[in-house]
């Protein structure tokens, strides 16, 4: 175990997912220039200058109404899309309402404009699964209909089917290129809600549809989905390596050739690197993997533990548990490994830091009171406050992207379960019941939680919606410690 150099090399199999387009133009300002799929809005009705969905009241202020009418007219003229102007409320799922029901939505098979190739059912299934896993939609079975053009939906039929929304899509393949046009319709109001035209490589069809799904989530909930995210995890196959896959388990690829223990991967906010704890030099050091090249670098190899590294939301610091000067304490270090400051004090084992989304606080595990519990502390210092009280073994905190909730692992009846608690210590919920479940990780949109579970025997990665109602295995191979990438 000792003395062997850690030899890693990037996996270069046929599923070269690192070569996928990172960002389409217009998605967000990005340093990635490798976009090979293009996405165009041809109708983008209700968004304010910040990109947020405007509220009805603000939208219909007198000043903006005139501008809107003008803009809408231009869009309508240019695209000949028939959208009735309406002051009625829009299609919406109110995420703040805990009693909200699921929105019934129909996603008939995508209509093919060319013969052969991918099936319209397979394409629609990608989106159906995305929206199902969000836990917000009831995806209604819908027969395919090749006769109705997607720009003239049969609203009567969809109203009769009882759905509030329908997605109609048309696609063509030209060589290795796929052109996909997809539209989200508001059925009761009989109007187009959002439409996209996407072009890309056929092999990237899942990514293209995931991206459209993210826009559907944004149009209906106000928060962009994150179906294009990857999940990295520590594989528990014969060779323990870092693997990554689409969030839904597809396109699994091995990222390291470490041939040693690897633990606790965490993806940098720009998606370019993954830090993890690896025993390549016989000790638990913190390593950094360049995702594109497979190059490995030691970030921190101080004596003792260099464990549970987590990037700050801006990527300019890493919170990590170090023991070089005593018992495990949380430190902030730069991405190159230089110590910025020591954050925690006292006589407990402090491990598993997680950043608040604003980067101002860190929650972590400490057993200073005798059993492991979750505490929070300001990055600028101050007193740590204890957050968990309900059980006597609480670990693995992960701060939700909305900032108001922590997911964590609690021991109950000798097993581990994923729980959530509000950051003020209220609203304790238990989300899992089967097997032993650990290491919750919120998706970047806060709609889903990835975790590891032994409920089917071996430990593997699962994804559930934020309420825990839908829980599905995704990794295909044994693994643990899931970590989400940013959107691709």
């Amino acid at each position: 175990m000792t003395g062997q150099p850690m030899s890693f090399a990037a996996h270069s199999g046929p599923s070269d997912w690192t070569g996928l387009p990172q960002t389409a133009p217009g998605f967000r300002p990005s340093t990635h220039k490798s976009a090979s799929s293009v996405e165009k809005d041809y109708f983008q009705p209700r968004r304010d200058h910040c990109g947020h969905r405007a509220t009805r009241g603000a939208w219909w202020s007198r000043r903006s109404k005139r501008a809107f009418t003008l803009l809408l007219s231009c869009v309508l003229l240019a695209l000949c899309v028939s959208v009735p102007e309406s002051a009625l409320g829009k299609l919406i799922i109110d995420l703040r309402n805990p009693n909200r029901g699921k929105m019934p939505i129909a996603i008939p098979d995508f209509v093919s404009g060319s013969s052969g190739g991918i099936s319209g059912n397979a394409l629609a299934d990608v989106l159906r699964n995305d929206l199902y896993l969000s836990g917000l939609f009831h995806v209604v079975q819908a027969p395919s209909d090749n006769s109705t053009p997607i720009d003239r939906p049969d609203f009567d039929r969809w109203a009769q089917a009882g759905v509030h929304a329908v997605v109609l899509a048309h696609f063509e393949t030209r060589g290795d290129q796929l052109v996909l046009e997809a539209r989200l319709y508001d059925v009761p109001m009989r109007r187009l809600e959002m439409g996209k035209r996407l072009t890309g490589r056929v092999v990237d069809h899942r990514l293209m549809i995931h991206r459209f799904g993210e826009r559907v989530m944004e149009a209906i909930t106000g928060v962009q989905g994150c179906f294009s995210c990857k999940i990295a995890f520590a594989g528990q196959t014969e060779s323990r390596e870092i693997f990554a896959m689409d969030y839904d388990g597809k396109n699994l690829g091995q990222l390291t050739r470490a041939r040693t223990i690897v633990l606790s991967p965490d993806w940098s906010p720009d998606g370019r690197s993954i830090i993890f704890t690896g025993y390549g030099n016989g000790r638990p050091d913190l390593w950094s993997l360049d995702v594109a090249t497979g190059r490995l670098q030691v970030v921190s190899s101080r004596p003792g533990l260099n464990a549970s590294g987590r990037y700050s939301p801006r990527g300019d610091a890493i919170a990590v548990s170090l023991t070089f000067n005593g018992i495990p304490k949380i430190f902030l270090i730069t991405p190159h490994g230089d110590i910025i400051k020591r954050l925690t004090d006292g006589r407990g084992n402090d491990i598993s830091p997680t950043w608040s989304p604003d980067g101002a606080s860190i929650a972590y595990v400490s057993d200073q009171a005798g059993s492991p519990q979750i505490y929070a502390i300001g990055v600028q210092g101050g007193e740590a406050t204890r957050l968990t009280l309900d059980t006597n073994y609480n670990t693995d905190p992960d701060w939700s992207p909305q900032g108001d909730t922590l997911a964590f692992t609690a021991r109950m009846n000798g097993r581990f379960q994923i729980c959530t608690i509000r950051t003020d210590g209220t609203d304790f919920r238990v989300l899992t019941t089967q097997g032993s479940n650990q290491e919750p990780a919120w998706s970047p949109d806060g709609r889903m939680i990835a975790f590891s579970s032994t409920r089917r025997g071996r430990r593997e990665i699962f994804v559930m919606d934020a309420s825990g109602e839908i829980q599905v295995p995704v990794s295909g191979i044994a693994g643990k410690a899931p970590a989400w990438s940013p959107r691709n």
Partner: protein, 168 residues
């Protein structure tokens, strides 16, 4: 010379103990059987490198140390094992000792890493307090390397341990 007989007696006792306890250690090391002449601990050199076989003898005679669930404090049994180990290590002060801390599977992984580190450190601190002169270092494996892959109390009890590894 009485001291020499005492030493030889100890060597034989150690060898027998090692055979009995051998199943508990991860790396099986072949020992010279009782009565087989060979370079043993009866002629220790306190400076310069040990012969490979001497190193293996030291390794084979070190006892594993076990812990209570979710604890890193040393039980009386653990202290007795370490006192035994300390006397061996004192006689080979030139070897370096790596102390591995391990946990059972009934903890979450990252917390187990911290716990394993504390176990290793508790052992290191105790050995130091006993006057062990060797270079000591620690490594935590959390629950990554169980001795017994079983999911029962017997397996867990074996897996909650600190193991000593000697090297030149």
């Amino acid at each position: 010379m009485p001291l020499r007989y005492l030493t030889q007696g100890l060597i034989i006792a150690l060898a027998v103990a090692a055979v009995v306890l051998g199943g508990c250690t991860r790396k099986q090391v072949k020992l010279p059987g009782p009565g087989v002449p060979g370079p043993g601990l009866n002629a220790p050199r306190t400076s310069g490198p040990l012969l490979e076989q001497e190193l293996q003898t030291v390794q084979a005679n070190l006892k594993p140390v076990n812990f209570d669930y979710d604890r890193f404090t040393l039980t009386p049994e653990a202290q007795a094992a370490l006192q035994y180990n300390a006397e061996i290590l004192k006689r080979a002060p030139q070897v370096a000792v790596l102390i591995e801390g391990h946990c059972d599977e009934r903890g979450t992984d990252e917390y187990n890493l911290a716990l394993g580190e504390r176990r290793a450190r508790a052992v290191a601190d105790y050995l130091t307090s006993l006057g062990v002169p060797n270079r000591l270092s620690t490594v935590s494996y959390g629950s990554e390397l169980p001795l017994d892959p079983g999911h029962n109390e017997a397996a867990w009890a074996q897996n909650r341990r600190a193991q000593l590894r000697v090297s030149q």
